[in-house]
């Protein structure tokens, strides 16, 4: 238990440093969210730009003269209370945006991770057991090639092929607006259908990397003495493959699974923007584009918290499932 307390304190320190770093970074970002509005006002009303800017600042509730330190103290203070700040662009609290967007992102990444993990584990173990055979070469070559495709290219291709060319998938959104959200089969079906694109874009590269890691791990575990001992005991291949090889090869991956989910929170910007999917990444991209610093810091903090929680959970899960760690 001491270990976890220790670890928690350490992660807390890391968190504070990271968040402060993010804050400094965002606050040094050039650009003024009120600029566009000011240009518009100045042009429409034929007034001096400086004056228009002042009006725009007031309209958006931005105080450009507030010192960075004050802002920082305010921000940290809010964060302590679980308040992620205020979005000037959306004119609402970041918490509300997170409440709207996070479930979708979590939905996509957890489903994508689940799918890619299960298939990747299976394929990796399968390939490793057929090491050197054609099927192994095929699987690992394919996985490597998929890994070589930059994710945004993959996302664009998926969108084009499935939504545009063959019109199999709906374009954009999380569900059709003319449906009432409910637990009905048809609604859940629509939600799943809308999520297929983003899920594929996340899951395919993931799957490739799980496959390759699992293949490597399996190959390593297969060399272990206890595998040969299991063979010597006359255990069936299927039992060895599942209980002995797969379980042991999977352990390190299960830990990285949790961490992976944390990291994916931050990596959704491109995919969600391409698929127009209303998750965290979508808002993140928007926040950068419109220089919504409040939203930006808020989402950044969320992602950092996500990664840290994931790291912590990974430690915990790993200790839970691996007796070698548990007993130490």
């Amino acid at each position: 238990m001491n270990y976890f307390v220790n670890r928690l304190l350490y992660l807390l320190v890391v968190f504070v440093i990271a968040i402060s770093g993010v804050f400094v970074l965002v606050n040094n970002m050039p650009g003024d969210p009120a600029y566009g509005l000011a240009v518009y006002i100045a042009q429409q009303r034929n007034m001096q730009f400086e004056q228009a800017l002042e009006i725009a600042h007031k309209m958006m509730g931005i105080d450009p003269h507030e010192s960075v330190v004050t802002r920082y103290v305010k921000f940290m203070n809010n964060l302590l209370r679980g308040n992620f700040g205020y979005s000037t662009f959306y004119n609402t609290s970041v918490n509300e945006i997170i409440a709207r967007a996070l479930p979708w992102t979590l939905f996509v990444i957890s489903l994508a991770t689940f799918i890619s993990f299960s298939i990747g584990i299976y394929l990796g173990a399968f390939a490793a057991q057929k090491r050197g055979k054609t099927i192994d070469t095929l699987i690992s070559t394919l996985a490597s090639i998929i890994q070589a495709i930059p994710p945004f290219i993959l996302a664009v291709l998926i969108l084009f092929v499935f939504s545009v060319r063959f019109r199999l998938l709906p374009l954009g959104g999380a569900y059709p607006v003319d449906m009432e959200p409910s637990l009905s089969i048809s609604f859940i079906g629509k939600v799943l259908l809308h999520a297929v694109g983003p899920i594929l874009a996340v899951a395919i590269p993931q799957m490739a990397s799980w496959t390759l890691s699992m293949r490597g791990n399996t190959a390593q575990v297969m060399e272990e003495d206890f595998i040969r001992f299991a063979e010597m005991r006359g255990l069936a291949d299927s039992v060895i493959a599942s209980k002995y090889i797969r379980n042991n090869a999977m352990l390190p991956l299960v830990a990285s699974l949790a961490i992976g989910i944390g990291y994916m929170l931050g990596g959704q910007t491109l995919v969600e923007s391409i698929f127009n999917y209303p998750g965290i990444g979508f808002y993140f991209g928007k926040a950068i584009a419109v220089r919504d610093f409040g939203l930006l810091t808020g989402l950044f903090s969320l992602i950092v918290i996500g990664v840290i929680v994931a790291t912590f959970v990974a430690d915990f899960v790993y200790a839970l499932i691996d007796p070698r760690v548990k007993l130490k």
Partner: protein, 326 residues
């Protein structure tokens, strides 16, 4: 000034846990001396503290209490430079020659680098000295090995190489931790022989940590001392041949009794002495009594309460036992 290493009242406690509450006494009040040209064997099973003792002697670990003197100077009180100077005189050979040799360096480099560092030589002299050293420990022809890597050698060859490396600083004492346990039976004698030769021919004091009583006997039957450790304490100490032929402590007896005998007839007829327990005792600061009490077949109530002192039962033979101490 013939004393090279003196260990005075050395204890070692390993602590762990967040508040360092869990602890384990690994060594307790050890006193030892090594003088020029000595042979010393530390025997005992694993977990008895022999490796820790050897590492403390070689200053690879700090004792929790007590003094370690090299050439009469407390190594934890002298300055770094002096310690460095003295360190060359005390060398250590690890148990596992696979791990103690750099896997990606050639044999030439493994010897020549420290040689150049210690002797401040280079060029042809370095080459010649490296060659001499390799030949000295029996890797002949030396040039054949120069561009080989450790994994090209057998276990015995590797251990020789590790010994050769220890010799680069012209040490006055070599401490070797289980130098033969990772080596094939047929090559073990040769390594022990090498240590004996180093001792005989160059006057280097040798401290061997062994669990193999036979090897201990081979090393000390001409001269040298044996120290038997149990539960972090010296239970018996004395001239090698004397102890092996007339063991006083019950543990020493069991140890000798359990050692393999290379004679089928004798082996089949011998009766193994069984202990009451084969567990390794875990001693804490609160532990009382003789560490062997829980396993000893001769224990008395006294053994549970009082730590037996190390008493001399004969010239050059000390034992720490309430029962056999007299």
């Amino acid at each position: 000034m013939s004393k090279i290493i003196e260990i005075k009242d050395v204890s070692k406690v390993f602590s762990r846990g967040f508040f360092k509450k869990k602890h384990r006494v690994v060594l307790e009040d050890i006193n030892l001396e090594i003088s020029k040209g000595d042979r010393l064997v530390i025997v005992g099973e694993s977990g008895m503290g022999k490796t820790t003792l050897a590492r403390i002697m070689a200053d690879l670990e700090k004792p929790s209490s007590g003094e370690v003197l090299w050439f009469g100077e407390d190594i934890h009180k002298i300055d770094k430079r002096r310690r460095k100077e003295l360190r060359g005189k005390v060398q250590y050979v690890h148990q596992d020659p696979y791990a103690s040799l750099h896997p990606a360096k050639t044999i030439y480099k493994i010897i020549a680098d420290p040689l150049a560092n210690a002797q401040r030589v280079n060029g042809k002299t370095l080459y010649q000295r490296t060659k001499d050293l390799l030949e000295k420990i029996g890797l002949v022809p030396a040039e054949y090995f120069f561009n080989k890597y450790p994994h090209h050698l057998s276990g015995g060859g590797r251990q020789r190489l590790a010994i050769a490396r220890a010799l680069t600083t012209d040490p006055e004492v070599i401490i070797a931790d289980e130098p033969i346990s990772m080596i094939d039976m047929s090559l073990r004698a040769a390594i022990i022989k090498l240590f004996k030769d180093l001792n005989d021919l160059y006057g280097i004091a040798v401290v061997l940590v062994l669990h193999d009583i036979g090897a201990a006997k081979y090393f000390t039957f001409e001269k040298g001392e044996i120290v038997v450790l149990y539960g972090g304490k010296i239970v018996e100490k004395g001239r090698g041949i004397r102890i092996l032929e007339n063991p006083a402590h019950p543990y020493t007896r069991v140890l000798i009794n359990s050692s393999p005998i290379a004679d089928p007839e004798l082996a089949r007829n011998r009766v193994l002495e069984q202990l009451r327990s084969y567990d390794v005792p875990i001693r804490t600061k609160e532990s009382k009594g003789c560490p062997f009490a829980h396993a000893c077949n001769y224990y008395t109530e006294k053994c549970k309460e009082e730590v037996p002192p190390l008493v001399t039962i004969e010239e050059g033979h000390q034992v720490a036992c309430h029962v056999f101490g007299k």
